[in-house]
Amino acid sequence: MQHNFFYYKINNYYFEIGVTGRSVLLEIETTRFPTCFPIDIMHLFYENIALYMLKHWMGCFFKDSILNDQPYVINNKQWTEIGIEMETVRKSIPTDFGRPPRNILHHHNGYKAEEWASWITLYSLPLLKDRLPANYLKGWSFFVKAVQLCQKRVLSLHDQEEIRKLLLLFYQHYERYIYYNIYFIY
């Protein structure tokens, strides 16, 4: 009786969190979970984190406008300036650097992963300098450095540890000053 009750609870729990069964991928013998399911930095770094950080800086990340009122929000006038700077620099960017930058204020919804990559590694830091408070720029710079290392063709053991360290620093910064900063307002 006890036994049945236990299984009932477990099944109910699975149902609640949306687990419907074993993944068919786990039937492949050479597959180990989670080591065989590496993280795809194209989607994670370029298309998710870069976009969310941009939303934070634009003040439209949270649905609640009170939560969006943060010290790291850059006002519209400055975003327009950044956009214009990106447009004007187009002609002087060497083709080796990839696509010429597009105005991030107008086109960030249509940005391709490659454009996000160059936004992170090339354009974000110089454009945000003096517009973002220094400690937020510092926090973002950890991420920029980590992404630059991740883009390397060959990684040394030292690089790998550096990536771990930098991403942890960025995460702590995000947790403390960007996301949970909301609790310090009240």
């Binding site: 065989c36 998710n48 969310y52 771990r164």
Partner: protein
């Protein structure tokens, strides 16, 4: 907090497990999807259509191993020959620079300015007989020189 911010803590581990990020990122897969998309033209049987098109494409890709047929279907394109004074190119570049060869009539003042300038840099140039009709090459030379003067 968004779950993707949690994922960044696992990036270093996944590098340790499966190698540098480029070896597992989705760029090649997205590219493949981009190539496959226009191949599915049929709306009634998109998958059948896609399979057939991919198969056909692969046949063409393998055709180069059958020289006899390949040369008939894709006749070799002969390399273009240029006169030496008409083109400038570098081994490392695909691009070619063509000299402009359109006849251009210089105005009297332009001829005078060229002469004046050449006089300054080279005494012998003053003896040069410049015809009123000179090819555009001189105009380019002139503009380069003018830049130098400015």
């Amino acid at each position: 907090m968004k779950v993707c911010f949690h994922y960044i803590l696992h990036v270093a581990d996944s590098i340790q497990d499966t190698g540098p990020c480029w070896s597992t990122w989705q760029f090649p897969m997205e590219r493949t999807c981009g190539m496959l998309q226009p191949l599915a033209k049929s709306r009634l049987h998109p998958y059948k259509n896609l399979t057939n098109n991919v198969y056909l494409l692969e046949l063409f890709n393998n055709l180069c191993y059958f020289r006899k047929f390949y040369d008939q279907i894709f006749p070799p394109i002969s390399d273009k020959k240029y006169k030496e004074h008409l083109v400038y190119t570098n081994e490392n570049y695909e691009e070619e620079f063509q000299w402009p060869s359109k006849p251009y009539t210089l105005t009297f003042q332009e001829v005078k300015k060229i002469k004046d300038h050449l006089c300054v840099i080279d005494d012998r140039a003053s003896e040069m007989r410049l015809n009123v009709c000179i090819i555009l090459f001189y105009v380019i030379l002139f503009s380069i020189l003018k830049l130098n003067i400015d």
